[in-house]
């Protein structure tokens, strides 16, 4: 077993070797390197054919029409294009947007930008399990609401929002519905034939494809219009100019094709590993699971070890590549805004660790992780004045701390 062990599949995944193999065929002089937009010779035609196949594979995973797929540089760009593009195009109908406090920064920051342009944005608070209450969302709708943007699966806590119900509500109210599906594609079945979702963002590098490529689904029936954010040669039906990156697109296509084939079996295998991890940790005193355990992808476990600070825990867990929602407020990093939004107090937000498992995680690695964590939690609690006070029965919240 090689260390450090990778438990950060939600940050990014390695490229599946089968994907890399396909990508390599599109680079060198012997390969299919042509510009897919070159109409006048065989180099271009060959590339165009591969791009078409990839587009079909991306569409097939979500049961969409390939014409509804716009390639972008990743989910960040897709979120920007969807939200700014729709807001600008439909602003004559209103200037109100609804999103959620636990969205990815690619959505939140885009909304902040639109606020500076004069749009109004409602940032809904989720329930303490991380899920949105549909009634609260309905209550936030106004006559001038033009867009709702809610992510499918949260990147930190892995909870799955009910986008089917939200979609129905939006369609009934003639509101455009955008979903950031960067963390759900290949993990949760997505059926665009049934879902009333108008725009959906994808990223290849979260599902064993390469970084720097993603897609935006743009519904054709009913037709959704966007104002382009990238102007140029008019590629991707004018919505996103720029020479198509054949090798990247081929990689994304292959990754999506594999996901469609293997998702069901992989989810079951990963779920067993996650349960094994959880079972190995849940009897430790003062541990808290963040986010709903039912409406959740099997890949994610987000857990707070009370009285242990996350950054020091990550330092102790140097053989495990995990991520932490912590970092003291006075350093450049902030404690997780997602955990704060679901009502976790600062201490628990500072004490959280996210494990995200994936295609190449094996049981042996889970067992090693459990040992490492148990050992180091004990060690750090021995060092923690808060743990000592807790054990002595002192109420930490009753103390007047000098917050700095």
């Amino acid at each position: 077993m090689k260390t450090p062990i990778y438990f950060d599949y939600s940050a990014t995944t390695p490229v599946d070797p089968r994907v890399a193999e396909e990508m390599c065929k599109c680079l060198t002089p012997e390969g299919i390197f042509g510009n897919p937009a070159s109409r006048s010779h065989a180099f271009g035609w060959a590339s165009e054919k591969l791009v078409d196949e990839a587009r079909n594979n991306v569409a097939a995973l979500i049961n969409a029409d390939p014409k509804e797929i716009v390639f972008t540089s990743g989910a960040t760009e897709s979120d920007n294009l969807a939200i700014k593009g729709a807001a600008h195009f439909y602003q004559k109908n209103g200037k109100h947007i609804i999103t959620c406090k636990t969205e990815h920064k690619a959505v939140l920051d885009t909304c902040r930008h639109l606020e500076r342009e004069g749009f109004e944005v409602t940032y809904l608070a989720p329930e303490t399990n991380g899920l949105i209450d549909l009634e609260k969302l309905k209550a936030a709708v106004r006559p001038d609401t033009i867009l709702v943007s809610i992510m499918h699966v949260n990147n930190e806590i892995g909870v799955i929002q009910d986008i089917a119900a939200i979609g129905e509500m939006c369609r009934d109210n003639k509101i455009i519905f955008h979903v950031d599906a960067a963390q759900s594609a290949g993990k949760v079945p997505i059926d665009m034939g049934a879902l009333k979702v108008d725009l959906m963002s994808f990223s290849a590098h979260k599902i064993y494809g390469p970084k720097g490529i993603g897609a935006l689904y743009v519904r054709r029936k009913p037709r959704i219009r966007l104002e382009a954010q990238m102007h140029g040669g008019g590629h991707e039906r004018g919505m996103r100019s720029g020479t198509l990156a054949t090798h990247q697109i081929v990689g994304m296509g292959e990754a999506f094709r594999l996901a469609k084939e293997e998702m069901a079996a992989e989810n079951e295998r990963v779920r067993m590993l996650r349960e094994r991890l959880l079972n190995g940790l849940k009897d430790i005193e003062e541990v808290y699971i963040n986010g709903d355990m039912e409406q959740r992808v099997p890949h994610n476990l987000n857990i707070s070890f009370n009285f242990v600070e996350g950054e020091s825990l990550m330092m102790a867990l140097k053989d495990l590549a995990v991520s932490s929602g912590s970092a003291c407020t006075s350093s450049s990093l902030e404690p997780s805004y997602v955990l704060r939004a679901i009502g976790r107090n600062d201490e628990l937000a500072h004490s959280s660790i996210r494990f995200s498992l994936g295609r190449f995680t094996v049981e042996e690695e889970i067992d090693f992780a459990i040992d490492e964590i148990r050992k180091n939690i004990d060690k750090l609690r021995e060092l923690s004045p808060l743990w000592e006070m807790f054990k002595e029965g002192i109420d930490i919240n009753a103390i007047e701390w000098a917050a700095h």
Partner: protein, 132 residues
């Protein structure tokens, strides 16, 4: 974040971890930081009749740099008089541990902690401490 070897050494083998009786007249306790901020540091000193710090203990909830800063400080203050100990500056700690700029405040916390411990001892012992 890459840590210096010195931070890692103190973090992996923290010196002088523990607690002293805070009601003991010879013990000064300084507790600084706040759980909500992600750092709480408790530093305790035991002062002899001659005004020299005989022993020091710490416990820290916080990042690795905060743990290392407090561990290092307990080593430094032992054998020092209260006056000598109170001149220790956070910049010396930051320099010794090669802390990057975002981690400098972790050493500030350690400086605050020793000052608070000395003040606690002095307030317990009144004039006796001053003359020592």
């Amino acid at each position: 974040m890459a840590y210096s070897e010195k931070v890692i050494d103190h973090y992996e083998n923290p010196r002088n971890v523990g607690a002293m009786d805070k009601d003991d007249a010879h013990v000064g306790t300084g507790m600084v930081g706040a759980p909500a901020c992600g750092d709480v540091m408790r530093l305790q000193i035991k002062v002899g009749e001659n005004g020299v710090i005989e022993d020091a203990k710490f416990k820290t909830y916080g990042c690795g740099s905060a743990i290392a800063s407090s561990s290092l400080l307990t080593e430094w203050v032992k054998g020092k008089t209260l006056d000598e100990a109170s001149t220790i500056k956070n910049s010396q700690i930051a320099e010794e541990l090669e802390l990057p700029p975002v981690k400098v405040h972790c050493s500030v916390l350690a400086e605050d902690a020793i000052k608070a411990a000395i003040n606690d001892y002095k307030s317990k012992n009144g004039d006796k401490a001053k003359s020592a």
